[in-house]
């Protein structure tokens, strides 16, 4: 039983240490680099809960008041069983 506890604690520590965030490019346009940024994101728990959300480019541009998009980045953060995904839109 002790070994199981140790193993579980070790796994938790490893998970905490490996929690990561990644940003990847989605698209870039010929529009000038603007000074506005909009973000749309959603958080899921165990990949099930909280998934019914709009985290698209349109929502991010709307939130940032952006009418001319210069580029879009997608990001993903994983923390234990919690995952946050979304997009960041830059423009003017």
């Amino acid at each position: 039983m002790k070994k199981i506890f140790k193993l579980a604690a070790g796994c938790l520590v490893a998970l905490a240490a490996t929690a990561c965030s990644t940003t990847t490019p989605v698209t870039a346009t010929s529009n000038p680099v603007g000074n506005k940024c909009g973000i749309a994101q959603t958080t899921r728990i165990l990949g099930i809960f909280g998934g019914n959300a709009d985290c698209g480019i349109n929502k991010a541009a709307k939130d940032g008041g952006i009418t001319r998009i210069s580029h879009v980045d997608a990001f993903e953060k994983n923390y234990y069983f919690i995952q946050t995904i979304g997009v960041r839109v830059y423009g003017e």
Binding site: G10, V33, Q41
Partner: protein
């Protein structure tokens, strides 16, 4: 048993260290107008009159004003008025604000507003000892949103660090 405690202690230290870092709370990038610091949206939980409230801040180092965008859910389809941020005993009244959009979400209205505050006001906001309060009127009703005290203590350090970064890059 000792190993288990040390593992849990290490886990706690990792979690606390991660929680107090401003990394991930903001994004910076170069623009023709200087470096843009985008402070990620943050939900406030101490609400009065509204269902939800979140705000984000955009700072540009060649400008003297900061853009504060905020979204709230309300029962009323009405643009807010008398927008202000109360920091300790000071009231920063916003003269430049306009709605970005109004949407319907279930039985409520989601209203997003863009507003401008001076960089000095944002600096005082970030270093306030007590949680700052966003407040505005919708019709005759006064709405407000603020941090809970513990949440503010945690976020204030991050906001302060971001504002110092911004100040140093000006």
């Amino acid at each position: 048993m000792r190993h288990l405690f040390s593992c849990l202690l290490l886990l706690f230290v990792i979690v606390v260290a991660k929680a107090q870092s401003a990394q991930g709370r903001y994004h910076s990038r170069l623009t023709p107008d200087g470096t843009l610091f985008f402070i990620q949206p943050h939900k406030l939980n101490n609400l009065s009159g509204i269902k939800s409230f979140s705000y984000d801040v955009t700072l540009l180092n060649w400008q003297d004003s900061a853009t504060v965008n905020f979204t709230f859910e309300s029962d009323f389809m009405e643009a807010p008025s008398n927008l202000q941020i109360v920091v300790q005993d000071k009231q920063f009244i916003c003269k430049t604000f306009s709605p970005l959009y109004i949407d319907i979400k279930k039985n409520h209205y989601v209203i997003r507003i863009t507003s401008k505050f001076s960089v000095d006001e944002i600096g005082q906001f970030c270093s306030s000892d007590v949680p700052p309060v966003f407040s505005f009127d919708q019709g005759d009703i006064r709405m407000s949103a603020s941090y809970k005290p513990k949440a503010w203590i945690s976020d204030r350090k991050k906001l302060n660090d971001i504002f110092k970064l911004y100040s140093m890059s000006r």
